[in-house]
Point group: C2
Chain length 351, copies 2
Amino acid sequence: MINDIEIIKTESSKINEVDFDNLKFGSVFSDHMLVCDYKDGKWQAPKIMPYQPITLDPSAKIFHYGQSVFEGMKAYKDADKNVWLFRPLDNCKRLNISSKRLAIPELPEAYFMEGLKALLELDKDWIPTNDGSSLYIRPFVFASGEGFHASPADEYKFIICTAPSGSYFSGEVKVLIEEKYSRSANGGVGFAKAGGNYAGQFYPTQLAKAKGYQQVIWTDDNTHEYIEEAGAMNIFVRINDTLITGPTSDRILDGITRKSIIELAESEGIKVEVRKLTVAEVVEAAKNGTLKEMFGAGTAAVVSPIAGFGYKGTDYDLPKLDETYANFLKKRITDIQTNKVDDSFGWRFKV
Amino acid sequence: MINDIEIIKTESSKINEVDFDNLKFGSVFSDHMLVCDYKDGKWQAPKIMPYQPITLDPSAKIFHYGQSVFEGMKAYKDADKNVWLFRPLDNCKRLNISSKRLAIPELPEAYFMEGLKALLELDKDWIPTNDGSSLYIRPFVFASGEGFHASPADEYKFIICTAPSGSYFSGEVKVLIEEKYSRSANGGVGFAKAGGNYAGQFYPTQLAKAKGYQQVIWTDDNTHEYIEEAGAMNIFVRINDTLITGPTSDRILDGITRKSIIELAESEGIKVEVRKLTVAEVVEAAKNGTLKEMFGAGTAAVVSPIAGFGYKGTDYDLPKLDETYANFLKKRITDIQTNKVDDSFGWRFKV
Ligand SMILES: Cc1ncc(COP(=O)(O)O)c(C=O)c1O
Ligand SMILES: Cc1ncc(COP(=O)(O)O)c(C=O)c1O
């Protein structure tokens, strides 16, 4: 536990400028932010202050060597105005797993958890209550230490910002199964939420967009025969009545939504297989009609049904079913997240 | 060509605070920097201003998605106080190759070249003249546009800073041939000078340092059987009297020093092979005494002889020869760079 967090409150809230009925994703920011500095070999006490610009030397290593990691979480408010998080300690632990791989000093869990709670208490009016909206939370750590030597920085900043947000995707999601580019290497940093993993996806995703797809489904960099994950979601495929998702590895992010969906589905009697999944198998299932659904799972995208996929120049449409695992599981998980139903898993966390 | 670059000069130079006889690498910065903003869909006119902090919104995409690329160059001053660069247009072109892969808008070549020349003219007193020292030049581009959506930014900054620098390595360099971690994927961003490629190397390099090695030699991520490159250098191996270096690929940076060394060596009658090189072959050559030299080649490290390497728990020492290709080629290239000899290649560029 940490002692009282120093709080400097804003003198003029911006909340009245926000149209909570027409929120985009992650583009307006709440009044306050949490800032914690790593210097002199340790993480200093976190502080809460008005949301404000960051000033850095041009030689700060974040500009040159991509030393940064982040997390994505959401806060929900129920009908009684209680504030809820979903498995926040898992985000905290994953942030440290990412940090370790990027040679960033790990953060004390209490700084993350207590800091986050204090920030949410202060900015709880920013949590939207409309269906499908939530307060998106962005904890991140980056190298603020200076110098042009390609080596780890000696100073870092851990910051939490929050953004009232609507849904991540608008409209139908079609995906392109990638044959040329890749997201991560064996023995690389793909399992970490490292900044550099995202920038590397932008160009191939732009190429896919120009062809009419919203996302790329990454395949392994060596053979491009195995389905890995999407830009910000893990991928599930339903063949007949079995739900299949690939195993995590050092190339794939261990998604919190993914593992929750696996548990939820199993507890509802849905057969789940966690195993390597080839593109060939999915194409074959699409052709013979056994491919019923594909969907992505992630904090930002929640559960996002996929309407079709492209592969080697051919487009495959997914059937339009009345009852889908995707909709069923999406409702189950959001009902738990927003405190509409009991949570037998112990995932919900009261702020 | 661009019109006159706006120049705001510093009011108090810091040059007298610098000990030019004891320069580290990239840790003191010259008086001015060049800044060029991308906004409203185009690169705005570059400006030169006093070296100063950069202010960014906490949601600037550089902090979250690693969208950044950079270059590394050096300026030299000869006995007549002329200022020289080495193949600068190649750095400019490579910056744009990197940018394209990272979905960053490409920069007009004139902004880079004319901006750099104007900056060097202004700060030419910062170019050290001691042997082995030079003015290290760091052009970089990063995403300053805002928002938590994982997609390319709409605003960027291109900046050039310079730092009078001593040598990159101090002392003997021993390397570890990596068996587990990797630097880049097939179809990934390894060929780009993208920030994220460097952060990913820090942790494996820390592990190697703890075992007494200064650098990691990366191998392919799939089999770890092929020698690729080092953290900031391409790698050359001399077996008997043949110099061997791996081919470039989408996993390997196309080093300007590497290609210059290949040309130089060939022009001096040294047999050069550009071909895939296995770890097994190097180990075998070390065992049977045909492995004469290994060295790294890069702008920062110039030509850095490698004293020995570790692989699968065994250390292999390189012989200590009186006359080495490394020393010979290092002298040839630095003599050209610093205008001590004729440059029949047309590499030297007068500022
Ligand atoms: C690459 C990637 N895969 C999967 C996910 C899903 O993870 P989570 O469910 O923990 O949000 C994310 C992030 O949200 C991601 O960035
Ligand atoms: C990964 C990597 N390889 C090789 C090099 C050498 O390239 P150059 O000779 O152009 O400096 C560098 C950079 O300097 C590098 O960062």
